[in-house]
Every structure is written in C-alpha cells, then in structure tokens.
C-alpha cells in the first residue's frame, strides 16, 4: 500500500504553547485513521497543522514522500488540490446556498468548466449525501447534520486523495451518524479516498477505524492497528473506552 502521509518527530502548537510533541506516524492510502483523545488534547491542532493552517513547531510532514514546506504558498496550493477538509463547525459560506457552496471549488479552480458538467457534479454529490432536495437552501436554513453532510459533499467535490474530518458525527443522532460512517466507507471503497477522522463516537470508531492514533498528555500514546488497541490492556486506553461506553449508554 502506498504511503500518503508520513509525520516525523512533529511538534504542534501555538505561539506560546506546545500542545503535542514527538509525533511519528504514517497514513497509507485508503486507510481510515481515527484520532482519539480527551477534549483539549490537541486533536484539532494536529489536523490544522497537517493542512497548513498553523505552522509546525518542529519536525517534518511528508505528503507522497515529498516534504511539505508549509511556508511556501506554491506547495500549499498543490497540497490543497489533493485534500478535502470537513471542519468541526461545517464552515459553509453563509452567503451562498448549498449548490453554490459545493460548486465553489469548481468555480474557483475551473471557471471554464461547462455549466452542465458543473451541475452534474454538484447534484450527484448532493444526492450522495442525501441533500438533493435542499440544493437551493442557505446554510442558515439547514440543521446541523445537514450542514455537516453538505460540508462533506464540498470536501469531496474535486475528488481529493484524503479527507480530514474533525468530529464529523458530533451533535448528530445515531442514525445520521451511522449514515455518515457508511458514506465514508462507500467513498473509500468506490473512489479509494483516505480518511483522517477525529471522533469520540465509539460506535463510529468500531465501524470505520483501520488505524488509531491515541493522544494523551501532550504525547502520542498509541499509534497502530485499531484491532490491537483493545487487547493492549493499557489503563489509559481502557479508561478512555470504558468511559466512552458509559457516556454513550447514559446519553443514549
């Protein structure tokens, strides 16, 4: 399997605060990797670093064996052609309707594409996420789950190699969350898309995860096959899963 991302000795954080250090992991094509950890441990921070929104403090990231220079606009531009991002708060543009939001990457990067093809592309994505009927609604007129699905449609409109998802199922009911998971698995199967997913939902993790990256206290606690995770008998991981299970039972 081809390696798509390799992270070497990476430290991430903000101007006056290192959030995570000594990160080492790699992500293979078509794998689904989940990032686990307590709230505030830096899951979103890793993701923002990998997609170039905040510069890494030390260490390197390789994308298809090529070192990513996050300071070069040129490098970032070519990186952004190959990735899609689903933000924690959806981040759809509020002034555009759903259709326009999803068509935005096409219109910006391929302005000469015939309208007919654009329509075909946008509507098929909208159908894939079950929003064919809401194409001309504004994001403000949608529920949180619908916005999430629309954001996923936007993230995949230009067939990215990898999609980064920050808590895709947070705030969704179990049925919609399961649909989203199903959608990811389908996309992986049909188009070979790789996913890096931050999530707390055990049900979802069990269903989609190939690999797991567990973070704790500023370091990488575990990285490897998800299936090995449970048999590890590690107190932190056990408490994490146990807690998660009780929390889910209580809320559900």
């Amino acid at each position: 399997m081809n390696e798509i991302i390799r992270v070497k000795n990476l430290s991430v954080g903000y101007e006056n605060e290192i959030v995570l250090q000594n990160l080492d992991f790699s992500i293979n094509e078509t794998e689904i990797t989940v990032i686990l950890g307590k709230s505030g441990c830096g899951k979103s921070t890793i993701m923002k670093t990998l997609i170039g929104l905040i510069p890494p403090i030390t260490g390197d990231v390789y994308f298809y064996d090529e070192k990513v220079d996050y300071l070069s606009e040129h490098v970032l531009k070519s990186l952004y052609k190959k990735i899609g991002v689903l933000y924690q708060g959806s981040a759809l543009l509020n002034s555009l309707d759903l259709y326009e939001n999803i068509a935005l990457p096409i219109r910006m990067h391929y302005p000469d594409l015939p309208v007919l093809i654009e329509k075909e592309m946008v509507y098929s994505r909208l159908s894939q996420v079950g929003l064919r009927g809401s194409a001309h609604k504004l994001p403000g007129e949608l529920s949180g789950g619908m916005r999430k699905r629309a954001a996923l449609a936007r993230a995949m409109i230009l067939d990215p190699k990898i999609i980064f998802c920050d808590e895709p199922s947070a705030g969704l009911d179990p049925i919609t969350a399961a649909e989203l998971d199903h959608l990811m698995l389908e996309l992986r199967k049909l188009f070979g898309i790789t996913f890096l997913v931050v999530t707390h939902e055990l049900r979802s993790i069990e269903k989609i995860a190939d690999k797991a990256l567990v973070l704790n206290e500023g370091y990488m606690h575990y990285y490897g096959e998800y299936s090995n995770l449970i048999s590890l008998k590690d107190p932190f991981i056990d408490s994490f899963f146990l807690k998660n299970k009780t929390a889910q039972r209580n809320s559900g």
Binding site: I51, G52, G89, A91, L93, N94, L104, P105, M108
Partner: protein
C-alpha cells in the same frame, strides 16, 4: 445580634451556625466573622455545624475562606454529606496564589506595559502594511488574470455599496449643503457679498465636504459591515475552509469589495456633489434672492472640472481607506464572538481617524 460567644472554661470562641447557611443568609455570618477577626486577629475559634440543615456552595466558599484564616479555626459536628461536599470544592484560591508569579514592582511593570503596547502597535502596523501590499498585488493579479474571486461578486458588492448607501449619502450631503449655505449666506450679507455664496458653497462642497461626509458615512455603513462579515467568517472557520480549498481569503473577500468601492465612489460623489450644490441653489434663492442661473454662472468661474476630479480622487482614497482598514480589522480577529463586536467598532474609529488625517494631508498638499 452576636453569634460568637466565648466559652468560659477553655478560652475558645464559639460560633454556632443557624440551620440555614445559604447564599441568602451568608452575609450575616460573613460580617460577624469579619468583625470578630478585626478585634481578635488570632483567636481560637470553633465553628459548630450541629444545627445546620441546609447549606449551598456559597456556604462552602465561606468556610473555605475561613479555613484560610489559620490553624486556630476548627469545625465541629460536620455531617458526612457536608464533608463530601467540602471535598468537592478544593481551596482553589490558595493554590491559585501559589502558582501566580510574584508581583513586580509597579513602575517597572508600567514601563513594560508601555513597551509591550508599543511593540504590539508596531506589529499591527506591520500587519496592516503587509495586508495593504498583498491586496495591491491581488488586485493587479485579478485585473490581469480574472481569477481568484467568485463570479458575480463584484456586482453584488457594487449593488450593496452604491445602491444601498446612496439614499443616506445624498440626504446627508443635502442637509450639509443647506446648513453651510445658510451659515455663509448670513455672513456674506454683512459684507454685501451675497453672490459669492455660490463660489463658497460650490468649492466647499465639491472639494471638502462631500468627500469628508461621504467618507465618514461610508465608514459606518460599509466599513462596519465589511469588518463584521469578515470577522464572523474567521470565527466560523469559513476563511480556513476557503484556504484549504486553495482559495486565498484575502483575495476572495477583499478584491470584490475594493473593485466595488472603486466603482461606487464616482457614482456616489457625483450624486452628492449635485445634491449639495442643489441645496446651495435653494438657499441662495430663498435667503439671498439669487436666481439659479446666476448662482451656477458665478460658481463655474471659480469651480472647475479639476476641483471635481480632486474631490473625486479624495473620496476614492477615503473609500479605499475604509475597505482596507475594515478588512484589516476583520482579518485580525482570531476567535470568539466578542472580538467581532470589538473589531467592528474599532474599524469605524480607525477608518474615520485615517480619513481625517488623510484629509489634512490632502489640504496641505493641494494648498
């Protein structure tokens, strides 16, 4: 009422708490303890909980603060449930004190404060200049390649900036025209120089008042909305989303607004000039009995096309100032809805100040 009594046998003061120790009754106990501490700084005090039936977190806060009075305070007859509740509210203030750095001497702190602020200001200026140069570059790039902004967005912005603000701009211009004409007419009449009202009003409106008033109104109308919009997009991660779609937010959001204002300003200025002078004509006719044709004839001996162009140029510069500074303020927001509001008011203040400074510079340069 004295709640604290002194027991005779063992020199211990005793405070027996009432049955209700809640936020409604706590002040009495607090004051009592305070008074007591003033008279007896280090007494042995026993606080008796035996009558306490109801208590809340404010009670725990009170007793945590009492614990800080020292070792000589003892609690007696605490029920088990209260014990548990106490355990859930650790002595946070004390620990907070331990972590906080020792206080620096005042004057040193103040100097550091000024230095920090100065450095911060320099940093902000650097950011402003770098946004400015970026925008000039993006404008050039857009004009040569026609890429990087959303199709139709310039028209949208033009509609918003010109069409939506022309009523207020013309109204204000008309009212300012009336006011300045009446004030001047009165003075000129004293010298028997009524006819020069035309020159004065024409010149003042076209060269000075229309640009300034338009600038100030648009700071509030356009500037504030640009800042609020961009700032809230930043907070909602929409600008991040644009970035990771390979779209440059500083270009995508600012170029249409800059193009819009560049097209809107000439329309607005011409209209405002026209209305302002029209106001002058009305006042001249009503107050000084000068017929309109004479007014215009007189005015055009002094006011030329050049003056109109200078006024236009000034307004255009003011418009760019508004868009730049409000965009800058919008992009400077990091996170949190509160920052959006602060940035919005800041942007109006910033653009109005910059407009007035620039106006002064123009006055000196064009003298």
């Amino acid at each position: 009422m004295n709640m604290i009594t002194k027991s005779m046998e063992n020199e211990i003061y005793l405070l027996t708490l009432p049955s209700q120790v809640t936020i409604d009754t706590i002040m009495v106990i607090f004051n009592e303890l305070n008074e007591f501490q003033k008279i007896q700084p280090q007494p042995a005090l026993e606080i008796d909980f035996k009558d306490v039936e109801t208590f809340d977190s404010s009670a725990i806060a009170l007793f945590n603060s009492v614990k800080r009075m020292g070792e000589h305070v003892v609690f007696s007859n605490i029920r088990e449930d209260m014990e548990k509740a106490f355990a859930m509210f650790p002595l946070t203030l004390e620990t907070a004190k331990q972590i906080s750095k020792p206080e620096k001497r005042r004057y040193k702190k103040r100097i550091e404060n000024y230095a920090d602020r100065f450095l911060k200001m320099l940093g902000e200026m650097k950011e402003f200049v770098s946004l400015l140069t970026d925008e000039i570059y993006y404008m050039g790039q857009y004009l040569s390649k026609r890429k990087g902004i959303y199709p139709g967005e310039i028209t949208n912005q033009l509609y918003f900036m010109a069409f939506k603000s022309f009523p207020i701009v013309t109204l204000i211009s008309f009212l300012v025209g009336i006011t300045i004409s009446i004030t001047s007419a009165e003075q000129l009449r004293n010298f028997g120089a009524d006819i020069f009202l035309a020159d004065l009003v024409g010149f003042a409106m076209i060269r000075e008042l229309v640009p300034l008033m338009t600038g100030i109104i648009l700071s509030g109308k356009i500037g504030a909305s640009i800042t609020a919009e961009i700032a809230s997009m930043k907070v909602m991660e929409e600008t991040d989303a644009l970035k990771t779609m390979g779209i440059i937010p500083e270009k995508f959001l600012m170029v249409p607004r800059l193009m819009g204002i560049t097209m809107a300003i000439p329309l607005l200025t011409a209209l405002a000039d026209f209305v302002g002078i029209f106001a002058g004509i009305i006042v001249a006719r009503v107050f000084s009995s000068i017929p309109p044709d004479m007014f215009l004839k007189e005015m055009f001996t002094i006011v030329h096309l050049g003056d109109f162009l200078i006024g236009l140029m000034k307004t255009l510069v003011f418009g760019w100032i508004i868009v730049f500074s409000s965009g800058y303020k919008g992009f400077s927001v990091k996170q949190g809805a509160a920052e959006v509001g602060i940035a919005t008011t800041d942007s109006v203040v910033l653009s109005i100040s910059m407009i007035i400074i620039m106006d002064c510079i123009f006055a000196i340069l064009l003298y």
